[in-house]
């Protein structure tokens, strides 16, 4: 019996474990997750804008896993690739034949000077704090930016600017709120082909923007955010996405690059130097592509297919072509859909009601279709 260990119970790890439980009958599949809770992260922004309750975006991982998957609520502290074993925080050691690392990224607010002066919505707790601050916001300037690159879900900051516009329009106080978006790039949206459409949305909604603003520090006393490029912008309420890093155990195991991400083949998703035994998916890789659930979703299927082939004693043939598909909510019941891969950037999307509906449907049906790889 081959032993497959999956680290991380997010969207990627859960799909890998479930597909293997179905397709690799000759494997024992163990998934290690430190909380045993599965979080639907696209829901964070809706918690902040009072459209979803936090309990709706968290479920027990056990309920999302097939029965054949063993769930260990524990945390990897070190991988020993020579011995093919994972050392866990509890002291247990899990031997493996095949290892899949899907531990995502972690927020590192502590490394951003002055971050106590900022809000964000990248955890249920932070989203609730932002919800409370917005609820009592009397009016003034709200500044949105990011504290480092890369960060999860590249469209999320621009999406939150649009949702702020909608939020204050609903509360009949849009005229009292200035929304100022500070983009780290030379355009407002990370994907060039989509940028003109998003810039037009910003201009139509009266969202002010500054480009090439890479936030470096916050001065919470004077309420000013400073950039790497030498600019300073005052705010009344600041939303700054904290810096992101990969999991510490991967760094401690010597598996990461200088930025803390795992060097990974972008087609086979094998960890470089450990081909045939370790794979990495989702945020944790160094692949220059969106760190997003949609990426992990499509990568997970490729890795599961290939590991299932190896378990059956067959050569793996699946390749990841960079496919990502996601919906972005532009507020006022309108949205856009983005579909792309390594070779094909997204075509400029028309703003439409159907993509907003697509996002709302995904928010509801995620639990039934995505973790069990039904989509």
């Amino acid at each position: 019996m081959k032993r497959v260990v999956v680290l991380g119970g997010g969207v990627g790890g859960t799909i890998v474990a479930n597909v293997l439980a179905k397709k690799a009958k000759g494997a024992e599949v163990t998934l290690v997750d430190k909380t045993g809770k599965h979080v639907y992260q696209p829901g964070f922004v809706y918690v902040a804008f009072d459209k979803m309750r936090p309990e709706k975006i968290v479920k027990d991982e056990r309920k999302l896993l097939r029965r054949r998957v063993e769930l260990r609520i524990d945390e990897a502290v070190r991988v020993d690739p020579k011995a093919k074993a994972v050392h866990l925080k509890s002291g247990a050691v899990l031997p493996y034949d095949y290892l899949v690392i899907a531990t995502g990224s972690r927020l590192s607010p502590e490394e951003f000077p002055g971050i106590e002066g900022a809000h964000h919505f990248y955890s249920p707790e932070a989203a609730l704090r932002l919800r409370a601050a917005l609820a009592k916001f009397p009016g003034g300037r709200i500044v949105i930016t990011v504290g480092g690159i890369p960060y999860k879900c590249p469209p999320a900051p621009a999406e939150s600017a649009c949702l702020l516009d909608y939020y204050f329009a609903r509360r009949k106080m849009r005229d009292k709120v200035e929304i100022h978006f500070l983009s780290p790039l030379g355009r407002v949206f990370p994907i060039e082909s989509v940028n003109p459409a998003v810039t037009k949305i910003f201009e139509d909604k009266g969202i002010k923007y500054t480009t090439f603003f890479n936030a470096e520090r916050i001065d919470p006393q004077n309420k000013i955010v400073h950039s790497l490029e030498g600019e300073a912008v005052p705010y009344d309420l600041l939303i700054l996405i904290p810096p992101h890093h990969g999991a510490t155990f991967a760094r401690d195991s010597g598996l990461t690059d200088a930025g803390g991400w795992i060097p990974t083949d972008k087609y086979t998703l094998e960890v470089k130097g450990h081909e045939g035994s370790i794979w990495a998916i989702g945020d944790t890789t160094d692949i220059p592509i969106s760190k997003a659930g949609a990426t992990a979703h499509y990568e997970a299927k490729v890795v599961a297919e290939n590991v299932a082939s190896l378990v059956r004693g067959e050569p793996p043939t699946a390749r990841y072509d960079g496919k990502v598909m996601c919906f972005c909510d532009a507020g006022h019941h309108r949205g856009i859909a983005l579909r792309f891969d390594y070779e094909h950037p997204p075509v400029p999307p028309p703003l439409g009601r159907k993509w907003y509906i697509g996002k709302m449907v995904l928010n509801k049906l995620y639990w039934y279709i995505v973790p069990k790889a039904r989509a």
Binding site: G148, I149, P150, P154, P184, L185, G186, P190, I191, E192, S193, F212, N214, L228, E229, G230, A258, G259, K266, P288, I289, S290, G322, V324, F340, Y342, E343, P345, P346
Partner: protein
Amino acid sequence: MAAEEVKVTRVVDARGSVCPGPLMALIGAVREQKVGDVIAVYSGDTGSRTDIPLWIKKAGHEMIGVRDRTGYAEFVVRKTR
């Protein structure tokens, strides 16, 4: 100094990247490397030819040069502050 003569400290291969893009990969590397280090970014994205020099100018770093390769360009940048 010509781009061919400098010793590259770190290579960032961002070919095939459409999102978040070669510039984001470069900015991430600039944050992580030390002042004086030389970073080479490989990009097949035509937008990089505008984006990268514009950002380097605004951020006050040094663009050592751009090398044309088959199917992509290599941008060589020194972190100066």
